[in-house]
Amino acid sequence: MDSAPTAPEVIRGEAATSVEQPLARPPLVLNRRSFSWLTERISGVVENPAPRWWWVCFTITGTIAMFGMFCLGYQISTGVGTWGLNHPVGWAWDITNFVFWIGIGHAGTLISAILYLLHQKWRTSINRSAEAMTLFAVMCAAIFPGVHVGRVWMAWYLAPLPNAFGIWPNFRSPLMWDVFAVSTYFTVSVLFWYTGLIPDLATLRDRATSKIKKFLFGFFACGWRGSNRNWRHYEMAYLLLAGLATPLVLSVHSVVSFDFATSILPTWHTTIFPPYFVAGAIFGGFAMVLTLMLPARAMFKLHDIITPQHIDKMAKIILLTGSFVTYAYMMEFFTAWYSGNSYERFAFWNRVFGPYWWYWWVGMLFCNMLSPQLFWFRWCRQNIFVVYFVCMCVNAGMWFERFIIIVGGLHRDFLPSSWGLFIPTWVDLWTFIGTLGIFTSLFLLFVRFLPMIAMSEVKITLPEADAHYGSTNGQHPAAAGGKERM
């Protein structure tokens, strides 16, 4: 008791000296770039004429998107029978694609909201494009359950609207939760994204040379003046939107997993699904962020803004979440064995050695469990080609994972007489490839017409943005990785 008061003082004294000599953090923007350099470089992507590769890419992805649109039109006008769905596999590529796309969206919200709350300043270089990616991924996701309902013109039955039959939706159904979760997720993501865009749209407005650009950017910038009285409310709104988006994003994929987990099917009926799905979503989403950002960074020469440090950190998140899903995969097998339930045991044996065996060996084992383990090595995290290879593995692996969960759970029914396999049709195939085209086309349009990096946020990471920068009255200039704005 007597010695207690003295001990903390020693500790406090040590803490004080360590505060005075902060560890130098690597700068987030390389080569000591200025505010105006950032404005020029990022606005330049929008203002300069589109490079030739952009037209080449857009022509290809636009054509693929058209194929997808055609397949959707054909499917809607002819019926769900154009897909390979049949008994016992009533959910196949459509729901696989839905879960795949919605999962990709999750990385955008993680970067924009969760990393914001955690004061991770490096997020500023990638959050805008990751959020855009979220929106486009959720759009692609929404297509599949939308047309899967069969008679699309009856989709309004999902909404709690009074109708002549006096029938109401069942709010206790996970599918109904899904409708609310996904539509809320999309709406909130749009609001969050647009709120973040306003200051940057004002930058483009002030730089616009043509009248039409000035009008359009001015219209959407809402007359933003960068006033501190406005920033004060703006930052509070941004913080609260981040705080709202954080539980929201965790809830969305949890609700998606409830679609499966509340059923009684072996391999679906598990309590591990919500965290397993959320980790998988972030895992797959970060791979997609890197898939898009690495070419964009090279094409628009953004190496000083999206630095090796950013790629390194994203690779570490892929490693972390990849290890989560690896744990979940192994725990599923353990639980199946430990439960003693013969259906459950059979389903997991069938996953590895059944007709879809190679989906598991290639998709889940190699792509999802093994390939991210390369990121334990610094050399691999710093080599763009290794990073890109792993990202491509993860993109594919996460699609396979969803296919294994959905079709793997359905194709072996409780009665062997109803066993069957899923054979995709050309409409299945081209609808999925078409959404890849829609997604990349939308992203290419975004890159051309809106600032792909949050200028006002990246500027805060420069040491010059600190109110005490260069002052000599005993206060240190903030280190480059110092305080996040709040």
Partner: protein
């Protein structure tokens, strides 16, 4: 207040070379007792609210109200049809108190949805946006406020505003390009 050429005066503005000088200038203007003035920067400057003498934004209260209304909307929207208009037993879940957790996900989503709308519209309304035309845009230097320049503007309708005093204060705080901004 009018200029010799007959323009109404909106205020007097000065440009500052850095965020740090703007921060120090804001403290001077605050201590001089001005009320109707503002600083403009390409990004929010940490600590500027205190330097300007501003309190915490009360936007959070609006968002709380939005969240509560979203929750109540969900409660009415779910229990109205499920318990009164079209009670039906599915999943072995009757419409009694024991099944309430099955209604939680939609309550949560609606709470978040309404809160987010509240935050979005509150930030626009509380900032007086959208406002495409503002006298400050008459200042040709101001186009850089969204790029790399830092400005401080004292409005003419501030009770303490006189041309001499404002100019002296802006000069003393290190302001450059001190300019009278027209209202029209």
């Amino acid at each position: 207040m009018r200029t010799p050429s007959g323009h109404n005066v909106y205020g007097m503005g000065a440009q500052y070379p850095s965020a740090a000088t703007l921060y120090e200038a804001a403290k001077l203007v605050r201590d001089a007792g001005f009320k109707r003035w503002d600083v403009h920067s390409p990004f929010p400057i940490h600590g500027m609210d205190e330097a300007m003498g501003l309190k915490k934004s009360w936007l959070s209260a609006v968002v709380l109200a939005g969240g509560i209304s979203g929750l109540l909307t969900a409660v009415i929207m779910e229990f109205g049809p499920s318990s009164l208009l079209y009670p039906v037993i599915v999943h072995g879940k009757p419409t009694n108190f024991m099944t309430v957790p099955a209604f939680f996900p939609i309550m949560f989503e609606m709470t978040v949805l309404f809160s987010a709308f509240a935050a979005f519209f509150a930030v626009l309304i509380m900032n007086g946006l959208p406002r495409p035309h503002h006298p400050i845009f008459n200042w040709e230097r101001f186009g850089r406020a969204t790029n790399d320049a830092f400005f401080l503007v004292i409005e003419a309708r501030d009770p303490r505003f006189t041309e001499v005093e404002a100019r002296e204060l802006l000069e003393r705080s290190g302001g450059q390009h001190i300019t009278i901004i027209h209202d029209d």
